[in-house]
């Protein structure tokens, strides 16, 4: 029980950082630490923990977005399923390449799902406004792709060093 409370608190702390700290900086505003956390946890610690974090983070961020509550939760859960599927059947090793491809795939999936849901709810008249699919949106997408990949690579390198030092190689699946 205590560990779930800890997961919940960590998730809300990340939401808080993303929402109130990073959003104030022009460059960091595009860095999606919530998505990176979910991808990284699913990749390193497995589907179950990724699912729990997606649930808590999706719940938290759902309170601070123009999208209806629950949409981001569904998007994060879908990404966990996707990452787990790809990691189980296609990119099975914990390598630089796997991390690189998965974070790019996750960011693209995230954007596609956001666009689909935003348009869907806008045309269903549930949303007052839709996403502006303009140059700024495209810039934001590429910024996020770049920053997410950069942070994921950094996390990968840290993990490699840490796991080797602590003899936790068993955490790195199928290496």
């Amino acid at each position: 029980m205590i560990k779930y409370i800890a997961y919940f608190l960590i998730s809300f702390f990340l939401v808080f950082i993303q929402q109130s700290l990073f959003s104030g900086f022009s460059l960091l505003a595009d860095l999606n630490i919530l998505l990176i956390t979910i991808v990284y946890i699913t990749l390193v610690f497995g589907f179950n923990l990724g699912f729990i974090f997606a649930l808590f983070i999706g719940f938290g961020i759902g309170l601070y977005t123009f999208l209806p509550f629950g949409v981001l939760l569904l998007i994060f859960l879908a990404i966990v399923f996707l990452i787990d599927l790809v990691n189980k059947y296609i990119l099975t090793s914990f390598s630089f390449f796997t991390n690189f491809i998965l974070i790019i795939g996750a960011t693209i999936s995230y954007y596609i799902l956001i666009i689909v849901f935003s348009n869907l709810f806008f045309y269903l008249k549930i949303l007052e406004v839709n996403l502006n699919l303009d140059q700024r949106f495209l810039d934001g997408f590429f910024n996020q792709l770049f920053l997410n990949t950069l942070l994921m690579i950094f996390l990968y390198l840290i993990s490699k060093i840490t796991f080797k030092r602590l003899n936790l190689a068993f955490l790195i699946q199928n290496e």
């Binding site: 959003s23 505003a29 509550f69 140059q135």
Partner: protein
């Protein structure tokens, strides 16, 4: 007996030598020897004195250096504290000024205002702000959000129980009916331009407008009262033969530095 005599003789000799030396000193006979001895001694004395002085001073210096270091650290800590305090007071001053402006606006216009603070931005949509009040404070979708003396910065697009999402006027999907102070009628429609500025379209050609004129809300929308300032005309974009005039306006506030805002809640007034 013999040894006693020997000892006495020795004493006599010593006293005699001393007396002789004193005598020789006074008649300046042993001066060269004295000088040589003293010069050697001076050098040694000087070195010894200097060494012990240095030792003493370095000890004092060390003590003083420690004291100064400690004092320096204390002063640095104090400076840091003062800097933090200064920033805090500066923030208080800014906050105070903003609150005073909002209070003045409230007194002048008798609008019902809800004070809100910006707590972040939407991760997925540009040109939005998240504010710290929601349904619990009576806020609703479409309510105008203002800053200072009635400068409108956006509208609420989504309300949760304890927070709300505000769409800034500079967003492409933001639309507000506008007027100019000299006219009572609605004079056009303001729409955001790529998050940077605001464009006003559908201004009748016969309406006299110039650069630097103020653009205000027309009051056409039920929740947005007339007279809220959008900004100043920056450029007139249309030609004389166009059907309507189009102008570009510059917001009067920097939308990236918004902290304290107010939401005009006219719903209660209308319901009353």
């Amino acid at each position: 007996m013999k040894s006693k005599k020997k000892s006495r003789n020795l004493k006599i000799v010593i006293v005699a030598v001393i007396i002789l030396l004193i005598f020789l000193h006074f008649i300046n006979v042993i001066n060269p020897v004295e000088n040589y001895i003293f010069s050697s001694l001076f050098s040694f004395q000087g070195n010894t004195y200097s060494f012990f002085s240095k030792l003493k001073y370095s000890f004092i210096n060390f003590q003083e250096a420690q004291k100064l270091k400690q004092e320096n650290q204390q002063l640095k800590a104090e400076i840091n504290d003062l800097l933090v305090e200064n920033v805090k007071w500066h923030n208080f001053e800014l906050e105070n000024n903003k609150l005073r402006e909002i209070l003045n606006f409230k007194n002048e216009t008798n609008q019902e205002l809800v004070l809100v603070k910006v707590i972040g931005k939407d991760l997925n949509k540009d040109n939005t702000l998240i504010i710290n009040q929601g349904k619990a404070s009576g806020l609703g979708v479409g309510m105008p959000v203002i800053v200072g003396n009635g400068i409108i910065i956006g509208k609420i697009i989504k309300v949760n129980e304890n927070n709300a999402v505000v769409l800034l006027l500079t967003d492409t999907q933001s639309k507000v009916a506008i007027s100019v102070p000299s006219s009572n009628k609605t004079a056009g429609l303001a729409q955001g331009e790529f998050g940077l500025s605001i464009k006003v379209e559908y201004i009748p050609q016969d309406l006299e407008i110039n650069e630097n004129d103020l653009i205000i809300t027309s009051g056409l929308e039920s929740l947005i009262p007339r007279g809220l300032v959008l900004g100043k005309i920056n450029r007139i974009l249309s030609q004389e033969n166009d059907l309507f005039k189009t102008v570009s306006i510059n917001p009067l506030v920097d939308y990236t530095e918004l902290v304290i805002l107010a939401v005009i809640n006219n719903q209660n007034i209308e319901n009353d």
